[in-house]
């Protein structure tokens, strides 16, 4: 093993996880302009759904994953319909929505812990194949994560650019009031946006579950890294979060080469602070 290629691969793997989280988070944030903390728990919901389907129902891998992703999406959609929509109708400020999302996050996390216990679990079915790439090792699951991130980016850019739905989403992101005046059913579109963003988060939870494992509290860590990636890359456009994620992955993994491993999170947040101070609009300014 050579250390630099391995660190590059590690950065790629970590960056891909953050990229997928950032993609989902960015989509929802750009449309609704509020910080949805519950995005994190959707990852846990996806992971535990697959856990449930494979263990309790004995489903094979691929249908489990598809179902798991759909369950996560539905969770996000229902959360919007039950909690956020009534609040938006009541003209709630973004702070109120943030607090509501925190409440939803905590509650859903606790429910998962009640049903599945807070023990750390691994999702069975991940292949043990390890590839040698340019002097470093990467497992098949980790490679899938990287592919997933790119696929997610391509899917989202196609969705936003080439479909009418995407145009409506961008319109709402520009100005919700005007979009409504123009005739777009903003609440319905926002519901679908939460569905899609939550499926992306659920996918992250599932992939991470196969790679490392799941536990009820996994959501917050993933969310925070996704948010850092979004802010560093530039909130406001899809590509920004993607770039920011890989930058974050690189800085984290190369940073601990010379510093000690326990500084990883400190480095990540340090990067965020530097960007907020000197380039608050991120790498790609909208």
């Amino acid at each position: 093993m050579q250390i630099v290629p391995q660190l590059v691969l590690n950065s790629l793997i970590a960056g891909s996880v953050y990229a997928l989280m950032a993609l989902g988070f960015n989509l929802a944030y750009n449309t609704t302009k509020f910080f949805n903390l519950a995005h994190g728990v959707m990852a846990a919901i996806g992971g535990y759904a697959v856990f449930f389907f494979t263990r309790s129902w004995g489903l094979v891998l691929v249908p489990s994953v598809i179902l798991g992703v759909v369950v996560a999406g539905l969770a996000g959609y229902l959360l919007d319909k039950v909690v956020y929509l009534p609040l938006r109708r009541g003209r709630a400020s973004n702070t109120v929505l943030l607090v509501a999302s925190l409440g939803a996050f905590t509650a859903l996390q606790a429910v998962i812990a009640i049903f599945f216990t807070s023990q750390f679990r691994t999702l069975a079915g991940g292949s043990p194949i390890v590839y040698d790439l340019f002097g470093g090792a990467i497992t098949q699951v980790q490679l899938l994560i990287a592919i997933g991130a790119v696929a997610g980016l391509l899917f989202l850019s196609w969705l936003l650019k080439a479909t009418t739905f995407g145009k409506a989403v961008r319109a709402i992101g520009d100005d919700e009031e005007v979009a409504r005046i123009v005739g777009i059913n903003t609440n319905k579109i926002i519901g679908y946006v939460f569905f899609i963003s939550s499926t992306l988060a659920g996918l992250v939870g599932i992939l991470v579950g196969f790679d490392t494992g799941i536990e009820p509290i996994m959501g917050m860590g993933l969310l925070l890294k996704g948010v850092i990636a979004s802010i560093v890359g530039g909130v406001g456009n899809v590509y920004g979060g993607f770039l920011g994620a890989y930058l974050l992955g690189l800085v984290e993994n190369f940073g601990i080469w010379k510093l000690s491993g326990e500084w990883k999170d400190a480095i990540a947040f340090g990067l965020l602070i530097i960007f907020l101070l000197f380039r608050p609009k991120g790498i790609i300014q909208k």
Partner: protein, 378 residues
Amino acid sequence: MNSTVKAIIWLAAVLIVLVAAYYFIGRPTEGEVIKVGFIGPLTGDAASYGEPERNVVQLAIEEINGAGGVKGKKLEVIYEDGKCNGKDAANAMQKLVSVDKVKVVLGGFCSSESLAAVPIAQENKVFLLSLGSSSPDLTGISTFFARTYPSDASQGAVLAEVAFNQKKWKTVAFVQEQLDYPLGIYKAFSANFEKLGGKVFKEEFPEGTTDFRSVLTKLRAAKPDAVFVDTQTPAAAERVLKQIKDLKWRPMLLISDAVSGHKETVEKNADLLEGALAAEFGVDPTNPKFDQLAKAYQVKHNTELPFQSYSQTEYDGVYMVKDAIEAVGYDAEKIAEWFRTVKDWSGASGLVTIGDDGDRDGGHVPKIIVKGKVEKLQ
């Protein structure tokens, strides 16, 4: 009604609730039952040994009560979840001391729990008996603390000696969880290993870390002779081991006794752990009390006795508390003094002697993992 009347009614309601609460909850322990407290990790990763601990303690309690109890009174345990960290253990201790008003607490189990609970025990003159904490920092920490499990000063020394002299390893890399028990093992090992002439370096990680890839990459590049996977729980060790395997790395390994004591983890990772070293507090299967414990556990829980080094000291601890109460009564100071006088007390873990520093005399024995089983090292 006007607002003054309302205010008076509210005040009265609050007073009634407070008085009732004090009366029903704050009452000291009744005469028919002797209540002792328990603090251990009942949830989270460490529950893998916290739950068996509760089971063993409960088994001992049922045996004692079935045989007539302590001085004719039934022994009862109030179980609190320490979650293997100082904050929750301190809260649990505070509750047991102030609300349940117990005089003896069996706990903590994780060293982090015990270290946090000791000051509260000292301040309130409650006796704390740990059945499994092994951090060297607990040696001589308080006259109100004792433990039936030996200090890791012994685990570190034994492993360092074997690693350097027998295995001829010159450099050892540590992957150490940031908690008191793993830190204690690291300090004991590195002090002894470096004195022998070896080199130790480490990477720490906070509890709950799931991404070890770059930390392991870094350690691998330094080409150590062996890697010590020093974690608090078997679950954390599994995560580290899996990522070592993912990197296509097969170093010589050492593991902490909390991991080697977990049969499932050792079996599942038999391939990677082949030839790995550990140091455990010895178990003597020919000891009749141990045998009785193992059989009773098998019957009650339909599974083999887990974490055998810990189970024996847990079982003994409960019986020692019974003997203490029978000898000097349910008085914390007298019980604390009694424990300091324990010499060659016969239990499932062999002959127990507790020194002036509260530590159980006795040491760890080097073990090696062969084909997924932990065996004595020759």
